[in-house]
Amino acid sequence: MMKPVFRIAAGGAMVLACGLVGSQAMADAGREAMITSSCFSCHSIDATGNMPNLVGYPRDLMISQMQMFSNGSRPSTIMDRIARGYSEADYVVMADYFATIEQ
């Protein structure tokens, strides 16, 4: 199992409603969950397909690979078309997340 798992429910509500600063953190968690879970459609978190496994992928390598797909310097069949749909900030969100999860 991966860890840590996304937790955006009860914990978030607790922080917010107790009046603590936390809304920004939770908003980021939402965006992180949204973008990275989209990657798992092909790059299965259980590594079941034949797409590269992103779990534990080195952070800086992830960012540079996405940049290279996007600018065409790394040839690909489809990732060039997909990488161009995300911003540099999104690449960082993805990279930070994938680097921290474990199988």
Partner: protein
């Protein structure tokens, strides 16, 4: 969560019951005890159920699906082509139950009451929900073309919901004599799996080329162009010569009547007459019947939703995902449904926790096989903008034209890898 464990939870959180703000109590109670019901265990619904549990394990999630096992529509054309089996495209609900803690109920939802927030099933159960995610897929609009009804689907299969219909069409193709004509009647937009009819023609051609090479495939189309058209046509030319013929609506492809007894399709007021040996009529479509019955389609055929969260714009508290919803630029594909399931999961959890909605970010990837070693793809990345779901500019698009064979072969390898990956993401 029981009262006892709830008290322990609060104690562990270091917060005394007396000091709780009323708002927090309400939020915590709603998210702890919330019951999310998901209707439909296809690509959208199964994903939503799994991801609600992944993101918020404390929630109670019930998935209601009529079938014990599910055959994916994607991959079903490979079965028709003879290089995959029904077992290869069969998915089950064991992992959702045992690994992810989803309560899977094998039943059919017959009624949704958006006011009382209940669903009723054919089995007689009535269930309360806090939030409802509906992924009922498509229903067919028999009646659009005179001469054919749903009762004729045994003789003229649609094979547009995978399962028995897939097996039936495969048997008909196997029984067809060499030199026969396989006619596919393709619907107008929008419909489930836009490249599907053309991949189907490709897979039938692959089979015919080996087993009955004098046969022909005719696509009668109710539109003027289709998904990945240039790539399909170039691939047909390269691999199948003139075996596949495509007629757009303006050139006699718009079928106006079907004679089931003689397997004949008519167009242009009878001027066009096409006799088939095997006839595959893919009817025009609309949102699944339960969506219509629940009023979620409004005055139209599909369910309008808020593109940010996939919450119905007609009934609050109900989220509609997959083929049955209107999702802006996103095509009606299994991959789209899978991504929308994740958006709905995030949206439901945040809503129950009293958080602002997160803006949807989704992607679609769709592979089509022209031969088992020649695949093409289309991809899209989507964002929410000005109230609509739009394609991110500069991203997405189809495989390059004139790519060398190794690239097509690589995409064919990724086609199978995509399948394994996404069914793992949905049902694994």
């Amino acid at each position: 969560m029981t009262d006892l464990t709830r008290r322990s939870f609060l104690k562990a959180a270091g917060i005394g019951g007396m000091t709780l703000a009323a708002g927090w109590t309400a939020a915590a109670r709603s998210s702890e005890k919330a019951h999310v019901v998901v209707v439909g265990g296809g690509s959208g619904g199964a994903t939503a159920a799994k991801y609600v549990k992944r993101f918020a394990p404390e929630m109670q999630v019930t998935l209601i699906e009529p079938k014990a096992t599910y055959h994916t529509c994607y991959g079903s054309n490979w079965v028709l082509g003879g290089h995959a089996t029904m077992d290869d495209i069969e998915q089950t609900y064991g992992a959702l139950k045992e690994r992810h803690g989803v309560n899977v109920v094998q039943d059919t939802v017959t009624e949704v009451d958006p006011e009382r927030r209940t669903v009723t099933t054919a089995g007689g159960a009535t269930m309360n929900y806090d939030r409802l995610i509906m992924s009922p897929g498509i229903d067919f609009r028999y009646g659009a073309v005179p001469g054919i009804t749903e009762a004729d689907a045994e003789r003229v299969p649609h094979a547009w919901k995978a399962g028995e219909q897939t097996v039936l069409l495969r048997r008909q193709l196997e029984a067809m004599p060499d030199g026969g004509v396989f006619v596919i009647v393709a619907p107008g937009n929008p419909f489930r799996c836009p490249p599907g009819p053309y991949e189907r023609a490709s897979m039938a051609a692959h089979y015919f080329k080996q087993a009955k090479p004098r046969s022909k495939i005719l696509i009668l189309d109710n539109k003027e162009n289709f998904s990945k058209q240039g790539l399909f046509m170039a691939g047909w030319d390269e691999h199948y010569g003139d075996m596949i013929e495509w007629l757009p609506s303006s050139e006699g492809g718009q079928v106006e009547e079907i004679d089931v007894a003689t397997l004949t399709a008519y167009s242009d007021g009878g001027f066009g007459e096409f006799k088939a040996d095997v006839l595959n009529y893919i009817p025009p479509q609309q949102a699944g019947v339960i969506a219509q019955r629940s009023g979620l389609t409004g005055d139209g055929l599909w369910c309008p939703v808020d593109g940010k969260t996939f919450e119905s714009t007609i009934h609050a508290g109900i989220y509609v995902i997959g083929d049955s919803c209107v999702a802006g630029a996103m095509p009606k594909s299994g991959h789209s449904a899978n991504n929308q399931g994740k958006v709905a999961a995030v949206a439901v959890i945040r809503d129950l926790a009293g958080l602002e909605p997160e803006t949807a970010s989704t992607a679609n990837t769709c592979y089509s096989l022209i031969t088992p070693d020649h695949a093409i793809s289309v991809a899209g990345v989507y964002a929410y903008q000005d109230g609509d779901i739009v394609s991110v500019e500069g991203a997405g698009g189809v495989s390059p034209a004139h790519a060398p064979a190794p690239i097509r072969r690589m995409e064919a390898i990724y086609t199978k890898g995509w399948y394994t990956g996404i069914v793992g993401d949905i049902w694994g």
